[in-house]
């Protein structure tokens, strides 16, 4: 076997593992989520069939008669059920039969119905997946931000800050230059968001390159500075009559139209209430841009070299400092554009609540997507499904929708663990092949 052939085999194996490991992680996380639901979601209800079973188990008819008061009532809480049960059948019978009755009355939630509710709500019709894509749109941008910086060996957890700073810039331009026509104002808003986000991302890049400060700490701190600063700005630009802490509305010419506006005239039926808007085109463009930048340009090559081995890159004449600042600035610009969807496409005003958490979700998206542009899109869609589908489980099941956050956290944990295991497996295989050669 020639060396080239062996190398290509390793490469294929690596890609395959790279694709499989996040999938395994996601599935494992769903299993853990199912266990959480099975263990903790329980309620007590005495149904008709429970009465039959209780009679079979030898519970006297007199007790069963007393129990009729509780029939059909649902108790999500064990202690209230116990209280009512004791009141209904008396202390003595309670002591004798409470275990049997509780066992028969206990109903658990089937995790599969919960997952089914999530995926049905997210994917069953155009409205569902339209909302999924709408929710994925900003996550693609914040995810790309993390992925791009990671390619340069930098961990940008400042997406949240870069996003709100960019988002505020977009809003400010949108409500300040109200006289401008759409074809000027929309590009100005987008550019403004990218520049301000880029500056906010460039600061930690500069501090890393010039002063050797680790970017993780500075980006964390800059997140909170950005949140406090935009909160101040929001109050400063709040309409006087408004009780809600949000800014003035952006000009009509800066607002993006919903996709239904274009699809309906074409004869494609798409609900008008669906939030999916033209900002999604920007996200698609950003994905193509990121993929092109990384794979086809000199800058992308340099960024990846610095990420792969900064010392070697330095020796090869690549300016590590310059690439560090540039990678962080481009990364920040990407995150800064998340506001295009959130402000220009949806809220038309600035409010932190519209953004909250999306910068951090971007980190999850990047890691699940293994820091590749295409992977980021898929992971963002997964998060979109969870976010949109999660709204449905509050209505149709007894599970609080915060289970979605738990799922996201567990996915994240398993993704980093499986990524690490994959890395070790690949290393071991390479070593073995080297030893054989």
């Amino acid at each position: 076997m020639t060396v080239e052939l062996k190398l290509s085999r390793i490469f294929q194996f690596k890609t395959l593992l790279g694709i499989i490991s996040p999938i395994v992680a996601v599935i494992t996380a769903f299993v853990v989520g199912a266990l959480v639901i099975l263990v903790f979601i329980k309620s007590f209800e005495l149904t008709e069939s429970a009465f039959v079973r209780l009679a079979e188990k030898g519970v006297p008819a007199a007790v069963l008669d007393n129990l009729q008061v509780l029939k059909g009532k649902e108790y999500p809480n064990k202690s209230t059920f116990e209280k009512d049960l004791r009141a209904a059948i008396g202390d003595q019978n309670y002591a004798q039969y409470n275990r049997t009755i509780k066992k028969e009355a206990l109903t658990r939630e089937n995790p599969l119905t919960v997952y089914d509710a999530i995926f049905t709500a997210a994917l069953k019709d155009r409205d569902g997946w339209g909302n999924v894509i709408y929710r994925a749109t900003p996550l693609i941008l914040t995810g790309l931000a993390v992925a791009l910086a990671f390619q340069c060996g930098l961990f940008n957890i400042g997406g949240e800050g870069q996003m709100v700073m960019g988002g505020f810039a977009i809003t400010w331009i949108g409500f300040t230059f109200v006289k401008l026509p759409a074809f000027l104002l929309i590009p100005m808003c987008i550019l403004g968001g990218a520049i301000v986000g880029g500056i906010w991302g460039g600061i930690p890049g500069y501090l890393k390159a010039r002063r050797g400060v680790h970017e993780v700490v500075t980006t964390i701190m800059l997140n909170w500075i950005a949140v406090a600063f935009t909160q101040y700005l929001t109050m400063a630009y709040k309409p006087k009559e408004s009780w809600i802490p949000h800014t003035y509305e952006i000009a009509k010419s800066a607002q993006l139209s919903r996709l239904a506006h274009y699809l309906n005239p074409l004869g494609i039926d798409f609900p008008k209430s669906n939030l999916l808007n033209t900002a999604v085109l920007l996200s698609i463009f950003a994905v193509i841009f990121a993929a092109y930048l990384l794979r086809r340009t000199k800058l992308g090559y340099e960024i990846r070299s610095v990420g792969f081995n900064p010392t070697a890159a330095e020796c090869a004449g690549i300016n590590v400092a310059k690439n560090t600042v540039l990678a962080m600035a481009i990364s920040g610009a990407m995150a800064g554009l998340a506001g295009v969807n959130q402000v220009m496409g949806y809220k038309h005003r600035f409010r932190y609540g519209v953004f909250e958490g999306m910068g951090f979700d971007g980190i999850g998206v990047a890691f699940i997507g293994r820091n590749s542009p295409l992977g980021v899109v898929l992971a963002a869609l997964l998060f979109g499904i969870l976010d949109h589908g999660g709204l449905a489980i509050d209505v149709s099941t007894k599970v609080p929708r915060e289970i979605i956050l738990v799922l996201k956290a567990v996915i994240l944990i398993f993704v980093v663990i499986s990524g690490e295991i994959t890395k070790r497996v690949i290393k071991r295989i390479q070593k073995r092949q080297e030893a054989r050669a």
Partner: protein, 298 residues
């Protein structure tokens, strides 16, 4: 004069969660593990404290439960970062997201609401009956003394004991420590678990003593201010406590400030100062050398 005293007292009260979380960060980072999950550990602590205190009627049991809950999250962080050598930042982030989800999840399940009033108070059993102490404790929560004691003990533990020396060795140069027969993994686990315990305690203070209730997202970035206190205090217990006091002072000053100074600018101070001490040329803070790098035995 009275307002100066009031500001001083409330500075100390505000500083407790920062100091405790910062100390937690110190133990973890001294052992070489970054713990940005402090925020999440704090949140879980805050919830557990109220839930257990309300169920048992004892706030001290609530505090204990919060410490245990924090430690459990510390174990998770340890498993991910020390055993599996996975990324410490992502693990910390996952812990924050997990805590934000699981606390509200259980708040809905157990209490059917996201704001839970704390019905028990932290009281020192015998001392509290003495009139003089009664006045003292109504003004100054007993956890202040506990925190002060922990700060002093931590200083001795980290800098004057064999355990502390090993902890720091593992965080500065794990290979060397390993060569001398110190188990890097064991020391790092210990550091992270202590860190979880202290962050859980900080959370219990927030819900039991500071706010008297638990509400969704009550930690509100205080874990990160704890992290900032640790960095500003250059990874030392006394430094962390000092920084915690400084940031608490800023918080206490807020109601007394003239209107021209927006409170949001006070909020930024800890973060701006942290970046400043990390980047400045004079009196620069340097983290432990092996921080964030998993130790893999060759």
């Amino acid at each position: 004069m009275e307002s100066i005293l009031a500001i001083m007292a409330s500075s100390i009260r505000f500083s407790i969660p920062y100091t405790l979380a910062g100390l937690g960060g110190t133990y973890s980072e001294r052992s070489g593990v970054v713990n940005i999950g402090l925020e999440g550990m704090m949140l879980i602590g805050a919830f557990t404290a109220v839930a257990v205190a309300n169920a048992t009627g004892s706030a001290w049991l609530g505090l204990l439960a919060a410490i245990i809950a924090g430690m459990l999250l510390g174990v998770i962080h340890g498993v991910v970062c020390v055993t599996f050598k996975a990324d410490q930042i992502v693990s910390g982030l996952a812990i924050i997201i997990f805590a934000a989800g699981i606390t509200v999840f259980f708040a809905w399940l157990l209490f059917n609401q996201t704001q839970i009033k704390s019905e028990a108070y932290l009281r020192v059993p015998l001392l509290h009956d003495i009139p003089a102490f009664k006045v003292l404790f109504s003004e100054i929560p007993p956890m202040i003394f506990l925190t002060a004691a922990i700060v002093i003990v931590s200083h001795f533990v980290i800098f004057k004991t064999v355990f502390g020396l090993r902890l720091r060795a593992v965080g500065e140069h794990p290979q060397a420590a390993d060569t001398l027969g110190i188990s890097v993994d064991k020391m790092r686990y210990t550091g992270v678990i202590i860190s979880g315990a202290l962050a859980g305690m900080a959370g219990a203070y927030l819900s039991l003593e500071h706010a008297h209730y638990f509400v969704k997202g009550i930690s509100a970035g205080r874990g990160f201010i704890g992290l900032a206190s640790m960095i500003f205090g250059k990874w030392t217990p006394f430094g962390t406590a000092g920084a915690g006091l400084l940031f608490g002072f800023g918080e206490a000053l807020k109601p007394y400030l003239p209107k021209v100074v927006p409170s949001q600018f006070i909020d930024m101070i800890p973060y701006v100062l942290t970046i400043f001490v990390l980047a400045s040329a004079v009196g620069r803070a340097a983290p432990p050398a092996a921080i964030g790098i998993p130790y893999i035995k060759e």
